[in-house]
């Protein structure tokens, strides 16, 4: 787990007050609305362009033999009706775009969290931590003990293919450049681990993988890991943290341990984690350097460092499947395995689930109240627009009825107008929210915005289909009532009123 979360006790989200949370939520909401409105305005020409193109295609069909040509002419009426009041159509599109965009973003957050808190049947990433202590602090020998237990007590088919390659330990090291005056600007947080853990993909969840970094980024990361392996003093620092502490790659510095008191680390920065990534504000060092420094301390003072026997914070293991994880968890839970301190084993997703427990009402509200409310608002927006349009064309509807148009034909026309705006609004909005971050990431080579130990927040690919479908559905529901009213228009009453 991440040290700046609950495990390490630094500004953990659980400590965030409700007022702060409401403030962040409001700012995020206003920001999202502003961003989406700008995006909607930018995509307006695209919306009208797409409508125009579609109308051209329909016009092309009008020249075909009947009944295609005939129905194409009737379909053309729908486009012309939408072009009648461009401002209203544009405003409806913008409203639908913004609302669909918000829905897409919320859906992205909820599915990302849902995915992360759902156990994967294959490749179970599990964490061993201290059972009762926060932050978790275990004996360094626990790592070797766990490996031994896995080899001895698990059947072969339940063991990872290569235990060493599916194993990682984390020790959290806090350091400052100025022990006399420790500030955010001179402090650094490091994960002490085996550099091979990165190569073996054990830091995948932290964004250190080819998928998040891209081919070039991953190759660069491998080059940096090689440099770290060359000298145990070599460290990697996140680009954002480097900026904060005013250092750059190649600099050497002395770090004074904050949780390892009286230990000084002489470090050389040999690489940087990408900016904006989950590791952007953190750093990584070799675990054996920490052990070497603890040994130095004992040699220097003649006694063990107070934290030397509790320097292992977390152990990560990638198990082949759920059954294997459950078997290992049972072994770890036995008092004979780890008793002082006792340990627990949980999946990464379960750990996130525990972390999110205080926020479950908020997520429930998002899913059950806010998201349906947005859909209802979308229906109302489109309903009001179509109602105004129908009222304006009340007499025209009556005239069409006089000519012999069937009520269902009039209803179809009205519903089609709504569905057309809904489809384009939904489609362009979800596509923009889905593809724009992808495009930005691919151009800037930056990896996605990550928060704490969460995966990159992005909408799932299926939203590309859901967007237009949502638009169609909203158009259908929103226009149902005005279309029904238009269907029922009493010709004699309309003309009596007109006269």
């Amino acid at each position: 787990m991440f040290p700046n979360a609950a495990q390490y006790g630094q500004s953990a989200p659980v400590e965030t007050s409700l007022i702060e949370l409401a403030l962040y939520g409001t700012v995020a909401l206003i920001g999202a609305i502003f961003f989406l409105t700008i995006l909607a305005i930018i995509t307006l020409p695209l919306f009208f362009g797409a409508m125009y193109l579609m109308e051209l295609v329909i016009r092309g069909f009008q020249n075909l033999v009947d009944p295609v040509g005939k129905y194409a002419k009737l379909a053309g009426l729908v486009f012309r009706s939408l072009r009648r009041n461009l401002l209203r159509t544009a405003l409806t599109y913008i409203a639908l775009f913004v609302l669909t965009g918000m829905l897409t973003m919320l859906y992205g957050v909820i599915t990302t969290i849902g995915k992360m808190t759902t156990d994967q049947e294959n490749s179970q990433l599990v964490i061993m931590s201290e059972k009762f202590g926060i932050p978790s602090m275990m004996k360094p020998g626990y790592a070797a003990n766990l490996k031994g237990l896995m080899r001895d007590k698990l059947p072969k088919e339940m063991q990872p293919a290569d235990i060493d390659q599916n194993f990682m330990t984390w020790s959290f090291v806090g350091g400052t450049l100025d022990p006399a005056k420790m500030t955010q600007e001179n402090s650094l947080f490091l994960f002490a681990l085996d550099p091979d853990a990165v190569t073996n993909g054990m830091m995948k969840e932290q964004g250190l993988n080819p998928e998040d970094l891209g081919e070039d980024g991953w190759a660069e990361m491998m080059r940096i890991i090689d440099l770290v392996k060359q000298d145990k003093r070599n460290i990697v620092v996140g680009a954002d943290r480097l900026e904060k502490i005013g250092k750059k790659v190649g600099d050497e510095m002395k770090l004074f341990g904050t949780n390892y008191k009286d230990i000084e680390f002489e470090c050389k920065i040999v690489g940087a984690f990408p900016p904006g990534s989950r590791m952007g504000m953190n750093a990584a060092m070799r675990f054996d350097y920490l052990i070497a420094k603890l040994d130095d301390y004992r040699a220097r003072t003649g006694k063990d460092h107070p934290v030397a026997d509790r320097c292992l914070n977390l152990v990560w293991v990638r198990m082949p499947n759920k059954a294997a994880y459950q078997q290992l968890a049972a072994v770890v839970a036995e008092p004979s395995s780890f008793s002082n301190p006792a340990t627990k084993m949980e999946t990464f997703s379960a750990a996130i689930g525990s972390f999110l427990e205080p926020f479950k009402d908020i997520f429930w509200g998002l899913k059950v109240l806010i998201m349906p409310a947005i859909v209802v608002i979308m229906c109302l927006v489109i309903g009001i627009t179509i109602t105004i349009g129908v009222r304006e064309r009340w007499t025209e509807m009556a005239v069409m009825k006089v000519m012999g148009f069937q009520p269902w034909q009039i209803m179809t026309m009205i519903v089609s107008e709504a569905m057309l705006i809904g489809t384009f609004g939904g489609m362009l909005s979800t596509w923009a929210v889905y593809f724009l971050p992808m495009a930005i990431r691919s151009i800037t080579k930056a990896i996605g915005v990550k928060f704490a130990f969460f995966d990159t927040f992005h909408s799932p690919w299926e939203i590309v289909l859901y967007g237009p479908l949502l638009g169609i559905l909203v158009g259908l529901i929103g226009s149902a009532l005005p279309a029904w009213n238009a269907r029922k228009v009493k010709v004699s009453e309309v003309f009596a009123t007109v006269a």
Partner: protein, 235 residues
């Protein structure tokens, strides 16, 4: 000449809350094929209601209406809609053209509901527009036409399906004197050249004079007819 419109013992009443308002009472009327009939009467006398009933836009409370060989008073709403497409041409006081469509498209609109080929539609639309003297205004939208021209497009739209009857509700009500005269001439031409049966509701005695027969309605009852002067002149 045989009666193309036969109205028998017609009653029409509306309900307003608990109140029942009788609009037409015990009305019997025949309209001959190819006749130009004007319906006159004070406001609220029921003339527009009668026109709507004959045009199949409303259903009577009691009585029967036959147009051609169809008893329309027994038809359902959707049957009436289908029937209207082929059998009724409607000319409105305020033209009621669709502003987003050109003159051609406005006239073509009712034809889209019929089983006609594109070529047939084109021919009929062009004929109708030429007949009303707007062959050169086909691509104009209603906003680009004068009131008189709009009404002529409305008339072309009413006759494009070659309907059994043409019903006109105050067709000159929104026109200046010259345009009104042109419109009435056109209606007269439809009767004399094409043999169309025309029923026209009007308040305007001058307009009514152009009809062959004038029928007066008062408080929902027919109070008299005057087929003579106009008939002699138009024939």
């Amino acid at each position: 000449m045989s009666a193309i419109v036969e109205v028998r013992d017609l009653y029409k009443s509306f309900s307003r809350g608990d109140e029942k308002i009788d609009v037409l009472m015990d009305l019997t009327l025949d309209v001959q094929e190819g006749e130009f009939l004007a319906l006159m009467g004070p406001s609220g006398s029921g003339k527009t209601t009668l026109l709507n009933l004959i045009a199949g836009l409303d259903s009577p409370t009691e009585g029967t209406i036959r147009v051609g060989d169809q008893i329309i008073s027994e038809k359902s709403e959707s049957e009436l809609a289908r029937w209207r497409t082929r059998n009724v041409g409607f000319v409105f006081q305020f033209y009621n053209l669709l502003p987003v469509l050109t003159a051609y498209e406005n006239v073509e609109l009712p034809l889209l509901l019929l089983q006609l080929s594109k070529a047939q539609r084109k021919k009929q639309v062009e004929n109708a527009l030429s007949l009303v003297g707007l062959g050169d205004r086909m691509t104009h939208r209603p906003g680009q036409l004068s009131g008189g021209q709009c009404q002529r497009v409305g008339i072309a739209r009413a006759i494009v399906t070659d309907p059994t009857i043409v019903v006109c509700d105050e067709p000159t009500g929104a026109l200046d004197a010259k345009s009104a005269n042109d419109a009435l001439n056109l209606l007269g031409l439809l009767r004399s050249e094409l043999g169309k049966t025309i029923l026209m509701v009007t308040h305007d005695p001058h307009a009514a004079e152009r009809a062959q027969r004038i029928v007066q309605l008062e408080k929902g009852r027919l109070v008299g007819g005057n087929p003579l002067p106009a008939l002699a002149r138009l024939n």
